[in-house]
């Protein structure tokens, strides 16, 4: 456990050390230090995951905090693994990504300090066993990521997104505090073990605590309807930061939910259904709005909501299994959810990093004006393609494995003889299938509009070479991981069963049927890839003569790049089917007169929750607070008066209560 803390210390210090160096070497130093830190943190995590031996450490911070316990059980160790590997890839990538900013931006040092600080705080969050310290680390995590988001703070919309993020995080932390306070009052201490003892006895309290914790942590994770900060914050942040935030940081929210779940034996049935339904809605909502987006990073951010929903479906089925006393179903459900956490962090990070490569070269995130990039940036294109196929959960990539596990747990759950379970699960299965096909629609759109066809603007013609090696290398590594997990799922399944059993509060049961299935799927995936490769070799070896020609334009041979299908038109048949779910804002100037001079059309689709819930709330808030404007007189005497009144009120209040 000491090694772990040395690793965290290195993370914390690395930013400060890196800022001493000159511009050229700064990020390299940071990457090397983070690499060392990751190795040190990974070693105990691996020990825990493979040997099953939990690590604990106790530090005395008297008199402020009392004794604070740290522990690495397999759930924590799994998250340490995800955090370390994925963050490290982001940091290595930032070497290439930050290059154009090194001269322009003044606050590069603060960026380099907050980046490893975010990683360290996430590691502390998942290893800490004390509610009070947990909240402090949680806050450090939120604040450091806030500073990372507002990297380009000279842009107004970046600052706006950052502040929105900050507000959402602080609303969410209130719910977490309530949940922990409820526990602490009853347990008489802040230690998670005490919480677990109390909650195991009092299931009524436990369900209440879980509900609050779900809202609090769910805001961080991005469950609908608490998701609204996500699609704004991710595009605003630099790509490696959005990759770390989307790939890793929002998963700490899921960690919180799973940790609270591990405190008690079985959630109530109503809660399990609620989590399942919210998750299905999140998944559908996320992918639906992803289809409407033309901003690449916004699109990916909505896909994070979708994938958090899928993770939630797994967790929801697991909770149903617990609530109905079916341990096998619970284990498979949680295993699917936990594996999807890893998988999503891999392919989402891969996609964000490739999106960053595109952005650095073309200086735009608007996919409508891109196109044909596969010719100038072949590696980024192939890596983005791998990421897209993986996020659509298609075999033989990793996303398929976790979604298969979740499907499998839902199918097994059908055997629970209960009407509501049957109907809920059948609709969830159909929902997950719908999410999968919509993801296919979304990513065929994104990939083909960005990388295929002809360039649609000068931005798309700008790139002359692919990104640098330091950016491609981490992306290549992540792509390799997606394939490895897809082809050898049986090994990773054995590993995720351990954290799943921690969440389900049970000893590890051999889930025979499922392990065998993983074995078969591994063989199939292997055969599938081999089959495709053999066919490719045959095709290109014995290919007939190839004549190059223009694309068939139905007899019209003056087709140009403006006549290609655009992203809006690709999504249009689907979106027209679901009209009522959007608030569409058209900007049309129709062609007038005989020889029209100018005409344009653009379509913007607003988040329905933002338009009808958040904005009215903010408006009401502004109106309400404006009533108190008179209090702000700017004169110091009246401020002292307010203080005095407040003090008197407190004294009177304490007299009555005390």
């Amino acid at each position: 456990m000491n090694i772990f803390f040395i690793g965290i210390l290195i993370f914390i210090l690395s930013g400060f050390i890196a800022s001493i160096f000159n511009k050229k070497n700064k990020v390299t130093v940071l990457a090397i230090l983070c690499f060392v830190g990751s190795l040190l943190c990974l070693k105990p995590a691996f020990n825990v995951l493979f040997d099953g031996q939990n690590l604990t450490a106790q530090y005395d911070f008297n008199p402020v905090f009392g004794t604070v316990n740290f522990a690495l059980d397999s759930l924590s160790a799994f998250f340490v693994l995800v955090i370390c590997v994925m963050s490290l890839m982001g940091v290595i990538y930032s070497k290439g990504y930050l290059k154009p900013y090194l001269d322009k931006v003044k606050n590069i040092n603060s960026h380099l300090i907050f980046l490893p600080l975010l990683i360290a705080s996430m590691l502390l969050v998942v290893s800490c066993q004390n509610a009070f310290a947990f909240l402090i680390f949680w806050e450090i995590m939120s604040l450091s990521s806030f500073f990372l988001v507002i990297f380009e703070n000279e842009k107004k919309e970046v600052l706006k997104a950052g502040i929105k993020y900050l507000v959402f995080m602080h609303i969410s932390v209130i719910f977490i505090i309530i949940a922990f306070a409820l526990c602490a009052i009853n347990a008489g201490g802040y230690d998670f073990n005490l919480f677990a003892q109390v909650l195991k006895e009092n299931s009524h309290l436990a369900n209440l605590v879980f509900a609050f914790a779900f809202i609090g942590f769910g805001t961080k994770a991005g469950f609908v309807p608490f998701h609204n900060w996500l699609p704004d914050a991710h595009p605003a942040a630099p790509s490696h930061v959005s990759a770390i935030m989307s790939g890793v940081m929002i998963k700490t929210g899921v960690y919180g939910i799973l940790r609270v779940l591990s405190f008690y034996a079985a959630p109530s049935k109503a809660l399990a259904f609620a989590v399942l339904i919210i998750s299905v809605i999140s998944a559908l909502y996320g992918v639906l709005y992803a289809i409407t987006q033309h901003d690449l990073k916004r699109l990916l951010a909505y896909h994070s909501i979708e994938n958090i929903g899928i993770i939630g479906i797994g967790a929801g089925v697991g909770m149903l299994g617990l609530a109905y006393g079916q341990m096998q179903i619970a284990l498979i459900g949680f295993a699917g959810a936990i594996l999807h956490i890893l998988n999503h962090s891999i392919f989402k990070e891969l996609l964000f990093l490739s999106a960053g490569s595109v952005y650095i070269k073309t200086h735009t995130r608007d996919i409508e004006i891109l196109g044909g990039l596969i010719k100038s940036m072949p590696f980024s294109a192939v890596l983005f393609l791998i990421g897209s196929v993986a996020i659509c959960a298609l075999p033989p990539f990793n996303g398929f494995i976790s979604e298969f596990l979740i499907y499998f747990s839902m199918l097994k759950g059908l055997a629970i003889k209960d009407f509501f379970v049957l109907v809920a699960l059948l609709f969830s299965i159909a929902g997950l299938a719908l999410v999968g096909t919509m993801a296919v629609l979304c990513f065929t759109k994104a990939f083909s509009i960005i990388f295929l066809g002809m360039p649609r603007s000068e931005n798309a013609q700008a790139p002359t070479s692919d990104s640098e090696k330091s950016m491609l290398l981490p992306m290549g590594f992540l792509a390799l991981l997606t394939i490895l997990i897809g082809v050898f799922p049986q090994y990773i399944f054995d590993i995720v069963l351990k954290p799943a059993s921690v969440v389900a509060n049970t000893s590890i049961m051999p889930v025979r049927t499922c392990a065998d299935l993983m074995q078969t799927i591994s063989l199939c995936a292997f055969g599938f890839i081999a089959f495709i490769l053999v066919l490719m070799v045959i095709k290109f070896k014995f290919s007939n003569k190839v004549i190059m020609h223009e694309t068939w334009g139905c007899g019209y041979d003056r087709a140009n790049n403006r006549m290609q299908y655009s992203a809006s038109s690709y999504a249009s048949p689907f979106l027209s089917m679901l009209k009522p779910l959007f608030k569409k804002i058209f900007d049309i100037e129709k062609p007038k007169q005989l020889f029209p001079k100018s005409a344009h059309f653009s379509l913007h689709i607003d988040d329905i929750e933002e338009a009808y819930v958040i904005n009215p709330l903010v408006k009401f808030d502004e109106w309400f607070l404006s009533k108190f404007e008179a209090m702000q007189s700017g004169n110091i005497q009246s401020y002292i008066k307010y203080g005095l009144i407040f003090l008197v009120l407190i004294i009177i209040g304490s007299l009555f209560i005390g």
Partner: protein, 305 residues
């Protein structure tokens, strides 16, 4: 062993025959003599020998798409029960693998179409992607409901509907068959969803996506869509053909059923016009409502007493 070889032969040749029979049926209703039912096979052989004409706009994605499409179709065949046997790889939740392998091929055929930069192919791709979003959930809901009935999560559950559902058996079977049949029409791009024989690019769906494919690419894609139709028809066969027939009897029944399905598709194509594009969704949505009916019948069977 013999049955395995027969199954392989079925996947290799029957798709062509089905396409041939559909064309022959259409010719019959049109009062023409029509080409031989082996014509698609001759076309295939001929196309394999031709030279490629490929658009300058395309990239490697366009070249590898046909390979991936045919590989996925053949691979998906491993998970489906064909003539008188369980699937070769008969695993629990096998339909998830089956559907996702086909999705994989669809993913590539969509981006392969978009790779040409043609607005016609973009149009076809966007429609195809859109239809899939309606088809797939209904398919999953149908199969999961049927599997809930028997507690068997392999494709074998399809053959056990009647024995597990008491009085509801016939109803469930009818609606399940209707769902699968509409799925064949949609995924196989037949009338009334899509018209494979149309001459106007604007109204095409699947055909327009492969406008720029030529030679062996075109041959492989045509074959793959034939295989897809065969596999979905095999699910119908799994429901309809009674269990416990001798091996050859059920193989004969299977082939007869494939013939019948082809004739029905050909007859529908002759008797009806394709639906207006904006109303196609409504037709495909019938699938979802029928799947919901199956779901409620299953729930009624399990909890209705």
């Amino acid at each position: 062993m013999a049955i395995k070889i027969l199954n392989i032969l079925i996947v290799l040749f029957v798709p062509f025959l089905m396409l041939g029979i559909i064309k022959k049926t259409k010719a019959f209703w049109g009062g023409r003599y029509g080409a031989s039912i082996f014509q698609p096979l001759y076309d295939f052989v001929k196309l394999m020998k031709k030279d490629f004409v490929i658009s300058k706009t395309t990239s490697g994605v366009f070249r590898i798409t046909p390979v991936i499409v045919i590989a996925s179709a053949l691979f998906a065949a491993l998970f489906v029960p064909l003539a008188s046997s369980s699937a070769i790889i008969n695993i629990e939740a096998g339909f998830v693998v089956f559907a996702y392998v086909l999705s994989f091929s669809k993913f590539f055929s969509l981006i392969g179409a978009m790779d040409t930069g043609s607005s016609f192919e973009g149009m076809g791709a966007s429609r195809e992607a859109c239809f899939t979003t309606i088809v797939e959930p209904a398919f999953f809901m149908l199969l999961a409901s049927i599997m809930a009935l028997s507690g068997n999560y392999t494709f074998d559950a399809l053959g056990k509907i009647v024995e597990n559902s008491g009085g509801y058996g016939i109803l469930i079977c009818i609606f399940a068959l209707l769902v699968l049949f509409i799925m064949i029409l949609t995924e196989g791009s037949r009338v009334p969803v899509d018209d494979p024989a149309t001459h106007l690019e604007l109204t095409m769906i699947h055909e327009v996506m492969i406008l720029d494919n030529s030679a062996s690419d075109l041959a492989l894609i045509t074959w793959a869509s034939g295989i897809k139709m065969l596999l979905l028809s095999s699910l119908i066969a799994a429901i309809v053909i009674p269990q416990g027939l001798s091996m050859w009897a059920s193989a004969a029944a299977y082939l007869g059923l494939m013939f019948l399905i082809s004739v029905i598709i050909g007859t529908i194509e002759s008797a009806t016009a394709r639906i207006r594009m904006s109303h196609v969704f409504e037709f495909i949505f019938i699938m979802s409502s029928f799947a919901l009916i199956v779901l409620s019948l299953v729930a009624a069977r399990m909890f209705g007493g």
